[in-house]
Subunit: 79 residues, 2 copies
Amino acid sequence: MKAHIKVTLKKGVLDPQGKAIEGALGHLGFAGVLGVRQGKYFEIDIAETNKANAMTEVRAMCEKLIANTVIENYDIELA
Amino acid sequence: MKAHIKVTLKKGVLDPQGKAIEGALGHLGFAGVLGVRQGKYFEIDIAETNKANAMTEVRAMCEKLIANTVIENYDIELA
């Protein structure tokens, strides 16, 4: 089973990398950019085939390693 | 309009960061991890409200700045 995980900064957490991209897009001539936030994306292939068990396992991975839950949110999709 | 962009390494491109996470998950006791690939995730807020125009604009951003299309694929979702 494959887990797709998006890790994004929580609202209010500064994102200098996103700001830099926003500036760079402006310099490249993209005028209508209102904001950019950068996050991380992970694809994890796991042996578990039961969806509920897989979700529990992947959630534990996120809490322990993948995301810094003090400043980041994570969103898991199983496929 | 908001664009959600996933940037992932193309098949065959080495992903040492993903390998490191895979190893770390193993050390943490997650036994059933078959593979990890890390990518990037972007949320771009744009002024354009027409979906087709927005897609064209965001695709141009990806080609010019967001993704390195030699080694990376990108996937755009508009919402």
